[in-house]
Symmetry: none
DNA sequence: CATGAATGAGACTTCATTCAT
DNA sequence: CATGAATGAAGTCTCATTCAT
């Protein structure tokens, strides 16, 4: 996003290098990835145009192939990056330190907020599903990372059960699916929903209401009835 | 418009006629639409190939343009047909004759079953959202039909409130969004979900469990707490 | 132009025919020709669309082929008709009865008026020239008819020379070319001329001035200088 | 942009280089333009075939789109080039240094010669008129350039009037139209004219006679009568 | 005579990718 | 590392024409 590569990047950490680094591979790659993320997210894998990506880049099409090999390679790199971005955020959420109900609330709210903000992420997941998830399958970092969420939920559930707060017949993965559904759908399908009902479900004005509603629904679902 | 179905072409007045009607525009159109539905659903609007559609058709590419004008025109016709198909089914659901709780259960189960079975429908909606719903907006039958569901839900809610069964602070459209989310996501995003958690959420084995879970979640959400 | 064929055309000259003439071939042909004249004139031979012609016709495309064989056949029929139309008009011009100067003036004015009004004619000639006149060559009525004009001019010239009014070194065909040039160009090339000079030379306001100018130029050219 | 002409590619610093420069965009573009000029001129905009152009080119069809975007874009580039070519020639004509009558003669002869030689130019103008001049309108260099001729004519006329040689009631644009008509028509419509009268008006044998005739006609028209 | 349905051939255009400099 | 030029394959669409009824 910083822009202005090329001529800049002067003093290289005090190390005298008379070869002013005219080229910064990392920045170039990052630049390409950023642009590609937008294009793939906006147009889909098939709809995205390599030329369109290259054009909005600081470099040329050749570099795109140099670094990522092919359109599909670039697409996979985008998927990889997008997942990497989440990981950082998730670290900040220390659910295990909260009591079960507050922890569950925090988890749902985090999930909600994340989907609400990261529309590109939502779209890319959608796109992947149209392609049968065959590209994300090849992304190494993908499979591993998702287990964490399940562990978090399992921890919350078992602590909640132990405390007599939660029912004991809830499957963690199913619950995750439920939370995801509620947070994902309103963003991913907002266009058809908006057309059908004249109300964009991702509109800021509805944000707070939906957030509360989803938290409420999840808690009602897991809570033990007296 | 007369229809005639696919497996038909049955009794030709007892006379054995080896002259299959070469000119049957309705059948030709239906044939094209059926194939196109699969292709668009499987590949997306951009990914679909007109040639691929034509090849699996009983006619030629030319007819496709003869009847539908363009790739986009064909895509829109597919959207239109898919929505038309739902309408028929919805008629069979007489929710207003059931008591509020049973009615709500019936509605959710219908929604669940429909999404569970009509994967093409789910995929096409997904695809439309990638395109910002700009094609479905031009489909006349689209906007009108959706209001019905909201009316159904409003009826259920008000009757439930009157009977002291439901809480009074639930918005009908929001509730519809919730139900849709729960029924749609597990089908539409089953690929990435399967990759991430090693479990295909739309797998038949999970079907009954999810169905019950979603009904449960919705009823818990609308129910008035004592 | 009359329209409303089909159902009409009742009594067939007193001859009892219980087969009401539902179809009137001559009118159908005329209808097709009229529409085709416009289309070919507006779009050129290559640019004209058989479908476009058929659409604006009272009949169908099949009839077009039935009567004219092919697109080119239709085009030739149009050329033929257009030339036939002129012939009728030319009969009304009895130049030989006028004195040489008045006769010459009448001829030029007639030529001017004709081109000024019959833009379709002008365009079709233009189109023919793009195609190297290869279609008009096959039109039987074409070659013969043009000699008449030359004879008219020769008659005027010789009578003018005899009367001591005209110079004797003017070739009739060359003079005809001159008159044609002056009358044709301002119509046929009015678009580029208009773009280039911001003045449409075929605009009604300029009509009278150009008419006078051209008559003047021609008379000055043929007149014997004292 | 530097240019480099056609017959060039000459001394490669004395070193015999058998490596014909494979990458020479200017030459590629020029090559495409030259071929396209012929094809459009011969076949018209609609009649011209992109494939036909590409085939007679040193490159492929793809390059044609790379440089000119579309068939219409290429057509416009041809129009632009053709007009550019005239400009160079016009510079050589220093009419203002001649006396009015000689100047007028020179102008007419130049116009005559130009049309007589540049048949492609004449045809392209004709083609443009069939398309209502809508492409030439978008050619930037077009509008400006034409004013020059009018200024030249105005200068000749006013000097001629001042010298008592020319009549004072001639409009410069009308006179230009007259000269154009006489020079253009015999080339542009030579095919139909030839068919009609068995005499190709652009035939070399007639060239001198027509040239003299047109000069004569124009001078007689502008000259003040005693 | 009349007609809607059908079509093979070929039109224009775009794609992801590689090459020469 | 970087770049504009180049490309074969494939894409969408249109044309004049014919066929079955």
């Amino acid at each position: 996003m910083k822009k202005g590569s090329k001529a800049a990047e002067p003093d290289t950490n005090g190390i005298a290098s008379d070869t002013r680094r005219k080229y910064d591979p990392e920045q170039t790659k990052r630049n390409i990835l950023d642009v590609a993320t937008q294009e793939f997210s906006a147009m889909g894998l098939t709809g995205a145009r390599v030329d369109a990506i290259a054009e909005r880049t600081n470099t040329t099409k050749r570099m795109l192939y140099y670094y990522f090999g092919s359109k599909e390679g670039l697409y996979q790199a985008v998927l990889e990056k997008v997942y990497g971005d989440i990981r950082a955020l998730e670290q900040d959420l220390h659910v295990s330190e909260l009591d079960p109900i507050e922890g569950m609330r925090a988890l749902v709210e985090f999930t909600f907020d994340y989907h609400d903000r990261q529309r590109d992420f939502v779209r890319l997941i959608t796109i992947e599903n149209i392609h049968g998830a065959k590209y994300v399958e090849q992304v190494k970092s993908f499979k591993g990372r998702n287990v964490t969420v399940i562990h978090t939920i399992e921890d919350l559930l078992s602590r909640g059960i132990a405390a007599g707060l939660f029912r004991s017949d809830v499957d963690a993965i199913d619950l995750h699916l439920m939370i995801s559904s509620l947070c994902f759908h309103r963003v991913g399908n907002r266009h058809t929903f908006g057309t059908a009902f004249g109300r964009d479900p991702s509109h800021p004005r509805l944000r707070a209401r939906h957030r509360a509603m989803i938290v409420d629904a999840v808690l009602r679902f897991v809570r033990k009835e007296d």
